[in-house]
């Protein structure tokens, strides 16, 4: 998607496969004098589900906004060998437009504007299609937000705070949709979550982002058992 001159030493993380769908190398992002991302190297493979967990203010949303081209990196490199769609934190729908118009605008970059595949994925959106998006429940809005991103026919979809403000049952319903989308279409998923339990449950690999740096990475199941991760993000004793 974009290449930036890599001014620093070769990445310390030698484990990024060359065929990764999306990869960042020593990504640095600054807001004025503040460093939001401080040398982040991570990747998502083809058809992979990857979690990015970490506390509030760690830089998770900054990373997604940089991948989407909203923020400009100060240093480092982003390689994207496919199309990325971004479901932003807080849904960010177009509230005065209808559900159908919201979905159709997701295809603005090109491709089919027919929203019917999204109605197959989220059947309940079909009867809501002529309603204004601003009047929907949080869960329905999250479905529209995901559907709008998927309308771009992405190879990878990055979801920022899927669970924010939603009831657990709604979250697990939408999460199941993401899993089946991943299984059926091979769409890779980068799930950014404060709800680490959910994120580690449905992904195969995960990163922990703290203070703008990747502090831990590994298989999701291993991270879920890691005492430090457990203490910080899963609240309490190891119970699995």
């Amino acid at each position: 998607m974009k290449l930036l001159e890599s001014v620093e030493q070769p990445t310390p993380n030698g484990s990024i496969p060359s065929d990764a769908l999306l990869a960042t190398y020593n990504l640095v992002v600054r807001y004025g004098a503040a460093v939001a991302l401080d040398g982040v190297s991570m990747y998502v493979g083809k058809g992979e589900m990857v979690a990015l967990i970490g506390p509030n203010g760690a830089g998770k949303s900054t990373l997604l906004n940089t991948l989407s081209g909203i923020n400009r990196p100060a240093a480092g490199k982003i390689i994207c060998n496919g199309k990325l769609a971004h479901v932003p934190e807080g849904r960010q729908l177009f509230p005065e437009l209808t559900v159908e118009d919201n979905l159709r605008l997701g295809a603005y970059r090109g491709g089919s504007r027919d929203p019917s595949p999204m109605y197959e994925l989220f059947p309940q959106l079909h009867r809501l299609r002529h309603r204004r998006a601003g009047g929907l429940s949080g869960g329905e809005q999250q479905m529209v937000a995901i559907g709008r991103a998927l309308m771009a026919h992405p190879d990878i979809v990055a979801v920022d705070e899927l669970s924010q403000g939603l009831a657990p049952i709604v979250v697990s319903d939408i999460a199941n949709h993401l899993v089946s989308l991943n299984k059926q279409n091979g769409t890779a998923v980068l799930l950014v979550e404060q709800n680490a339990q959910l994120a580690l449950d449905i992904t195969s690999r995960a990163y922990v982002l703290e203070n703008g740096r990747i502090s831990k990475e590994g298989r999701s199941a291993d991270l879920a058992r890691d005492p430090a991760v457990h203490k910080a993000y899963l609240g309490g004793q190891v119970s699995r």
């Binding site: 909203i70 729908l93 177009f94 509230p95 005065e96 437009l97 605008l105 997701g106 603005y108």
Partner: protein, 284 residues
């Protein structure tokens, strides 16, 4: 009764012209968050360009359309100057005031300070309830209504129009969907230029246009746009009608010299009402 009908017709026609200006404010503000105080200049250019084209022998109808296109182009240029630099909103707003002053200077250099006018489409005036109504008033009403319908269709029915609404609604999400929000801002400026140009083209046959008419036109258009909080095109049309009618009835039954004072008083009342409304909404 005769006088009343005359004031009513004149007020509606002038009100619709103000509404065209107000919609220019609304579209530019919605997409760019810039209050374009050079909006009146588009109308003045529209009037003067039509005048020169007609004098050069360009047929009626064609002259008016060309003037509207020229105003759209001027809108685009003003838009580039105003928003291309990623300046703070306040700086952009000051730039539009500068562009308004610059426009007056350019208009004076090209056309001088003498007021101009031209006759609208000629034909018989008609009589409603005993009042003679110039045909131009009818043309103003029909042309403005046609423009409103066109704009409503463009925004409500087309994909591009919805993408523009999306930019106004949530610029961040629009960017994520791949919409070039800045380019949409320039399109909004072009649209504002065309609507302002149309306002000037329509109003010049009714009241002579001067090079420095832009400020009073902009103030009235802004006042009408404020009725809809600068974001609602429909309420801006109602605002335009309120101002057009108020102006005519004040001028007719009271004194023409009170026209501007009453318009400004109405504007202040509207601003206070809007501020109160926004505060109440903020408390919800």
């Amino acid at each position: 009764m005769t006088a009343f009908v005359e004031y009513l017709m004149t007020g509606i026609a002038r009100g619709l012209v103000f509404a065209l200006l107000a919609m220019g404010f609304v579209f530019i503000y919605r997409v760019t968050r810039v209050v374009n105080f050079a909006q009146g200049a588009f109308a003045v250019f529209g009037g003067f360009i039509t005048y020169s084209l007609l004098r050069a022998g360009v047929p009626q109808g064609v002259s008016e359309l060309l003037a509207i296109l020229a105003a759209a182009l001027i809108g685009l240029i003003f838009g580039i100057i105003t928003i291309a630099g990623d300046l703070p909103l306040l700086a952009s707003l000051i730039i539009t005031i500068g562009l308004s002053i610059l426009s007056e200077a350019i208009l004076m250099l090209i056309w001088g300070t003498t007021p101009i006018t031209y006759s609208g489409l000629t034909g018989h005036d008609f009589v409603i309830l005993g009042a003679f109504i110039q045909r131009q008033y009818l043309i103003v009403v029909l042309a403005s209504l046609a423009l409103f319908a066109l704009v409503a269709l463009a925004f409500g029915r087309t994909y591009f129009g919805k993408a523009m609404t999306a930019c106004a609604s949530n610029p961040y999400a629009a960017k994520l969907s791949g919409i070039n929000v800045k380019r949409m801002g320039l399109v909004a400026f072009m649209l504002g230029g065309a609507l302002g140009g149309a306002a000037g083209v329509l109003i010049t046959p009714l009241s002579p246009m001067t090079y420095d008419a832009d400020v009073s036109l902009a103030i009235t258009g802004f006042a009408a746009a404020i009725v809809g909080g600068l974001t609602s095109p429909g309420l801006a049309v109602i605002g335009g009608l309120v101002f057009g009618l108020a102006e005519q009835f004040v001028a007719g039954y009271w004194s023409p010299s009170n026209e501007t004072a009453v318009a400004l008083a109405l504007l202040i009342i509207l601003l206070l009402w809007q501020a109160r409304r926004m505060r109440l909404e903020g408390l919800e």
